[in-house]
């Protein structure tokens, strides 16, 4: 599966390429080639975030999913959404507090204050409103959350929707709010816990065409979604508008990642595109720990490498912003080495 690409393949050509041979392209002489795919000697650059996990349960999975999808909508990037969020996993009835099926959902933001605001809005507008749902904190209890100052409201303020008919219920040391609604009552745990997290792990998939790129990205996202503690917040887990830090326009904090736009090949001096690459898609990963993000990136890379050059994949790269974005660096080669990904 991971034999070096022969010289007559596009990947092999890319591996031989250098800046001097092809103006506007990056040197790839240090790249690794697995199953005909060039793995760039680069790293993804991620940054610290705050995160929380909530459990949304409902009468059945359909309604739990409606609520989870709605609550995580318009939560692709902190640049303009306030938070990044996604469905982490489906939870069976045996693993939820109320014995009903549901979903665990992860929310990430740049500060605890902003995350508290987003949780209140999203749970209030998307979960409270959804038939039969209930919402619970998703992290295990430590018993010391308040002392650590890592607690934000979940149902704490939503209870006022009950207009005085809301009822507090403390069960086994946990406070819940029961808010009367038209299908019965909405039950929400009073608070949820925050944790430090890592946002912005990423992979860039450079493919021959749109069909191949979508297939590869979908496979990578499927592999990543099997892992706990991570979400891929963009639509379908994939983003086509990868960005770089900054812009020529002072008002913008981010702008298109010109180096990876095939349409700008030959036009920009720092293009990362080779002539055989016609479509680039990115997968952004937010995780609870550095290890979680790294594991998801590795899973995604492996899924893509397995499809390989025959499936239209030419290169795997990552968003390297030269240290301007954050302190977490996920080196693609090191990830592969640590997990025995090289053969």
């Amino acid at each position: 599966m991971t034999t070096p690409a022969p010289p007559n393949t596009p990947a092999g050509a890319a591996a031989r390429a250098s800046t001097s041979e092809r103006p506007g392209t990056r040197p790839v002489s240090e790249a690794r080639i697995l199953n005909g795919v060039v793995i760039d000697d680069t790293f993804a650059e991620a940054f610290p975030m705050k995160a929380t996990r909530i459990l949304i349960t409902a009468h059945n999975l359909t309604w739990a999913r409606h609520a989870a999808v709605s609550a995580t909508g318009f939560a692709t990037s902190v640049i303009a959404c306030g938070c990044e969020a996604g469905i982490e996993a489906e939870i069976g009835p045996d693993d939820t507090p109320d014995g009903r099926p549901g979903y665990s959902v992860l929310f990430f933001s740049m500060s605890g204050k902003e995350l508290a605001k987003q949780i209140e809005r999203r749970v209030g507008q998307c979960v409270l409103t959804c038939p039969t749902t209930a919402v619970f904190a998703g992290f295990p209890r430590t018993g010391n959350e308040r002392a650590e100052g890592e607690v934000i409201g979940l149902g704490r303020n939503l209870r006022f929707f009950g207009d005085g008919w809301q009822i507090s219920k403390v069960i086994n040391g946990v406070r819940y709010w029961r808010i009367p609604v038209m299908d019965g009552e909405f039950v929400a745990q009073e608070t949820t816990t925050l944790t430090k997290a890592v946002g912005g792990g990423n992979l860039l998939i450079l493919a021959t065409d749109t069909d191949a790129a979508l297939l590869l990205a979908e496979a990578a996202v499927r592999a990543m979604r099997r892992l706990p503690n991570v979400v891929m917040p963009f639509p379908g887990g994939v983003v086509r508008s990868g960005s770089k830090v900054g812009s020529k326009y002072a008002a913008l904090r981010a702008s298109t990642n010109a180096a990876f736009c095939p349409g700008l090949y030959g036009l920009t001096a720092d293009s990362e595109i080779t002539p055989d690459v016609h479509c680039v898609l990115e997968i952004v990963i937010d995780g609870l720990t550095e290890a979680d993000v790294g594991a998801a990136m590795l899973a995604g890379m492996r899924a893509c490498i397995e499809i390989g050059a025959d499936g239209g994949l030419r290169r795997i790269s990552a968003g390297n912003y030269g240290g301007k974005l954050g302190p977490y660096l996920f080196h693609l080669h090191r990830l592969l080495d640590m997990q025995g990904g090289e053969s």
Binding site: R100, W165, S168
Partner: protein, 272 residues
């Protein structure tokens, strides 16, 4: 360190044991413990008048205080307890576990009046019966039990959980009249039958009847809305007490809301 107090003789009058708690005995020699004073009627006497004191300083010895004997005339065992463990190898008098905010008291026999009154935390287990006004308030006080867990494996008297505000109180067997009267909030679960005037003047809170269906006063109304989520949360917690409460999550319920003469947000939950 554990301390064992073995009853020498049954006192003629009632003895107040407030202050005889694991934390107060920590580091005291046997002689010092024997000289601790307790009131016996109008008298103040040494603890050694009533108990033989034995200490176990072994490292593995649990940090607990054990009373051995029939202590039905000894009141305020575990009064204002904050931590540590007290075991009564027999019955206890009035006010056992009253005003405790932490730790654990285990009475292997029965207890008298006002057990767990104004209890705020910790755990009080009584293997036998309790008298009237358990989990209620001290005379003249506005709030009864306001935290912690009271488990009565036998029966309870009248006015159980009167003015209770928070916490969980569980009775495996029957309870007397005026159960949960003036209840402010909290959770009560009854395994047997309840007497007359259930929930008289209750404002909020949940009273679960696992045994016989309760007689519901006309100031309660049937609840039509689904409350299955809250019931599952409650039932799973109560099921951990075992006995008549085991298997509760699998059972269906019928609720009544009231008392409409008060706030009307309480619920009587009959398990079907």
């Amino acid at each position: 360190m554990s301390v064992r107090l073995t009853l020498k003789r049954v006192p003629a009058l009632r003895v107040d044991l407030r202050g005889v708690a694991p934390a107060a005995l920590q580091g005291l020699s046997t002689a010092r413990i024997e000289r601790l004073t307790v009131t016996h009627g109008m008298q103040t006497l040494a603890l050694a008048e009533f108990f033989a004191v034995a200490r176990d300083d072994a490292d593995e010895a649990a940090d607990e205080l054990v009373f051995e004997g029939e202590l039905a005339r000894f009141d305020r065992i575990g009064w204002q307890l904050t931590d540590g463990r007290i075991v009564v190898e027999g019955s206890a008098g009035d006010y056992v576990g009253a005003c405790m905010s932490g730790g654990e008291v285990h009475v292997r026999g029965s207890a008298g009046l006002l057990a767990a009154c104004e209890m705020a935390g910790g755990k009080l287990r009584i293997d036998g019966d309790v008298g009237d006004y358990a989990a209620s308030s001290l005379p003249g006080s506005m709030d009864g039990m306001r935290g912690g867990t009271l488990i009565v494996r036998g029966a309870a008297g009248d006015r159980f959980a009167d003015r209770m505000r928070r916490g969980t109180a569980v009775v495996f067997d029957d309870v007397g009249d005026f159960l949960a009267s003036r209840l402010v909030a909290g959770t009560i679960a009854i395994g047997g039958r309840a007497g007359a005037h259930i929930g008289y003047g209750m404002r909020r809170g949940s009273v679960v009847f696992v045994g016989a269906a309760p007689g519901v006063a006309p100031t309660f109304v049937p609840a039509l809305g689904d409350a299955s989520v809250a019931w599952q949360l409650l039932a799973r917690d109560l099921a951990s007490h075992g006995g008549p409460f085991a298997g509760l999550p699998a059972r269906r319920i019928r609720r009544h809301l009231g008392d409409l003469s008060s706030d009307g947000k309480g619920e009587l939950i009959a398990v079907l």
